[in-house]
Symmetry: C2
Subunit: 285 residues, 2 copies
């Protein structure tokens, strides 16, 4: 059967089986695919999870599609200096729609929800200056995610924004057994670059080329650190983008050093998706 | 109808219409999609195209899927210092399979096909030292692509490898009216960085973080050039990758400064595909 006649044959069968115009069939493609793959339309659930690190009570969110797709990759989401809030919750929701179980980590503590930049800065500074504590907090959240019944513990990644970028990099430096970490406009510096020798996962840095809070010299230092340790890393620099380029509430004036950049936001999200497609495929083999 | 019963309904219809086991249906998905979209399986054709720049005879290859999909985006492919050959022809074939019309540009001239590194270096050096001539040669190839009956002239990009990276950047600096350029481990330096003010397209630099032939200082200079001119640019650095990371025949010893890197090859190809998805969508609006 030639390619053309085979094609016509299948189209004819589809015509007979479902009495809709041809254009309608295009609309049905996603439904076909979901039907064949056994996936119901997404229904994202968000569950509050209380957990502890040492004696400190923490409260995160487990966000996932509850349509019963079985064990799937898990993604830890580490907040920026504002702490647990709508921004990271929104990102976790997007991850859930992509088919992942997302867990929004709480680094600061159950009742610590900064109300101002000053409060946020004070909290972030506490963990910036105590990396062992930061590592312990991120690892405590990782443990929660790994134990979730919907999560395949062999396929875990962590993403972080600004302060959370520092968090996921310290998670990697702590030797966490995960597939990869992604930093979005993260703080890349560390007091212990030699700890990169502990890194067992792949590293993706998504960064504003004009970020004054983590400038080119800090990117270069991170590269030196990763290079020296033989880490599988990638750095993506978005021209014109500054700090917090994924946050729509960051304004649109890059001269302030902090601004939303829609192009960089979309491009970095796509880069993350590609990274996950790679690391979760490899990890499941 | 609930999501679940709707799903079962469609699955049942598919079962009745085509008498194959459920697993087989998965294999049929691409055929369904192509049938519904009116696309026959790819049949890549390669045509030799003779053209001229000034009095110089040039010979490139137009590579495309001849299944009659109508006007589609065009991608100019500029060779590395070895000139027109199997490597760029292969990449053009991959682009054709993705649905683009690819044109392999000939920069050196119809009868100039270097047989040794020495010959290749001499040819590349000639154009490195005569950027106006290089621009003229790349633009001559662009004209051929733009006039191709299968190409939508509003959706054109150019990619280049090593020497060809220099070529597509000079094409951009010449003010070419295209949607974007992509450099794979390209030479990024230019004697006229001020010409970046002419750039009308988006720029994507896919680069080995350890490329000794276009090292970090050259990347930084390119960034300064693009930043000063307000160009929409991105730089992706692949850790552990050196020069020629996309060429399987480049060996596998990065300490030589030139080596194939399968991960960087695949990642950079994916980054190019994402870039095309973005720029061709915007350009067609």
């Amino acid at each position: 059967m030639s390619g053309r006649s085979s094609r016509l044959h299948i189209v004819e069968l589809l015509r007979k089986s479902i009495d809709t115009p041809c254009q309608m069939k295009l609309l049905l493609i996603p439904v076909f695919l979901m039907a064949i793959a056994g996936i119901a339309p997404a229904a994202v659930k968000t569950e509050v999870v209380e957990y502890k690190q040492g004696d400190t009570a923490l409260e995160g969110w487990m966000v996932y599609d509850d349509s019963g797709a079985g064990k799937r990759p898990g993604v830890l989401v580490v907040h920026d200096y504002y702490g647990v809030g709508d921004f990271v919750k929104g990102r976790a929701g997007e991850l859930a729609k992509l088919g992942y179980v997302a867990f929004v980590a709480d680094i600061y503590g159950k009742d610590v929800r900064p109300k101002s930049q000053q409060e946020a800065g004070a909290q972030a500074g506490k963990y910036r200056n105590d990396r062992p504590l930061l590592r312990a907090r991120v690892n405590a959240a990782l443990d929660v995610l790994k134990k979730d019944p919907n999560v395949d513990p062999a396929r875990i990644a962590a993403i972080g924004y600004c302060f959370g970028g520092m968090g996921v990099l310290e998670l990697a430096r702590s030797g966490a057994d995960i597939a990869g970490v992604v930093s979005f406009h993260g703080s890349l510096d560390t007091p212990t670059p030699q700890d990169a020798k502990n890194i067992r996962c792949k590293v993706l840095i998504l960064h504003g080329a004009d970020d004054p809070h983590a400038p080119a010299a800090q990117v270069a230092a991170l590269e030196d650190e990763m290079r020296a340790a033989g880490v599988d890393y990638q750095v993506v620099l978005y021209g014109g983008a500054v700090h917090a380029f994924t946050r729509p509430d960051a304004g649109n004036d890059p001269s302030k050093g902090v601004a939303y950049n829609e192009k960089a936001d979309k491009r970095s999200w796509q880069a993350m998706k590609d990274f996950f497609a790679e690391i979760f495929t490899v990890a499941s083999k």
